[in-house]
Symmetry: D2
Subunit: 90 residues, 4 copies
């Protein structure tokens, strides 16, 4: 299940961010810290892809199946907005 997969990535990312914090506190080398921050970002990007795919495969599909015009329009509007936000952040 895609939501479960997102959760796994998030938990791994959390452990990684904690490790990075310890690296900074222990005075580790900046470049090594930067690499680990980037690895955390990579995990969060994967979590986000899984979450949005979970969304498409459940919430969006359900809205379409419900034939509730307003609900479908909201889902489409939200997708457009999240793609825009995604493109700004990453």
């Amino acid at each position: 299940m895609k939501r479960e997969e997102a959760l796994q990535y998030l938990k791994t990312a959390k452990g990684q961010v904690e490790a990075v914090i310890k690296m900074v506190e222990d005075g580790k080398y900046c470049i090594d810290i930067s690499k680990q921050i980037l690895a955390s970002i990579s995990l969060l990007k994967k979590a986000n892809v899984k979450m949005l795919n979970a969304h498409l495969g459940s919430c969006v599909k359900n809205a379409i199946d419900s034939k509730n015009r307003e609900d479908v329009d909201t889902k489409i509007k939200e997708l457009g907005e999240i793609i825009e936000y995604l493109s700004k952040v990453i």
Copy 2:
């Protein structure tokens, strides 16, 4: 119309990439070139957001309105894939 807006961004991006090529050929300063490359990327990201919003507002909406189950499923699958590709590229 969002497709028209995407086209405008693309045309501006093309002019910008041409200007960057000239900067490299004229031996301009690397950092200035890098800034202009990044500005071109920024324009292309905006073009892409407009294009995907055009897609949501027309192709996806039409598929939903057609009540063609297979077409809707294809549209949802494609959206998931393009979000994944987008997250890899940028």
Copy 3:
């Protein structure tokens, strides 16, 4: 101090990722979760910029001041590699 600023961003990002995990476990809405994941990525990107600026302002400057040719070459090589990795991840 830039390393301190990076640490603050990292600690905030850690709290945010923990909150996102709770959101997933509590069955919150996918789009809201996605937005919070993207906000966490944004914080980590800022932490990374601070860390690389800390690196330039201390490690790289010290290597240059030491006039140790080998050390300077290593620093330059590392910077090139981290910029390449950064461009792949984000």
Copy 4:
């Protein structure tokens, strides 16, 4: 030479952006257009990495070799700024 490699990527990117413009004008499918825009962005990111590596290997090295303190400081400041800008754009 890295500047030459950057130029090649830029020229390929230019051709790709031109092809994308034609796709939009010819009314091609949004998702196919989006994929080609993302491919153009990918090329420009590679051009940028090459350009910044060219910068590190020539301008920055020359500044260090010149032992001109002010010039070195400028180069370091610029690198910090371009990394920050890079992280905002992509």
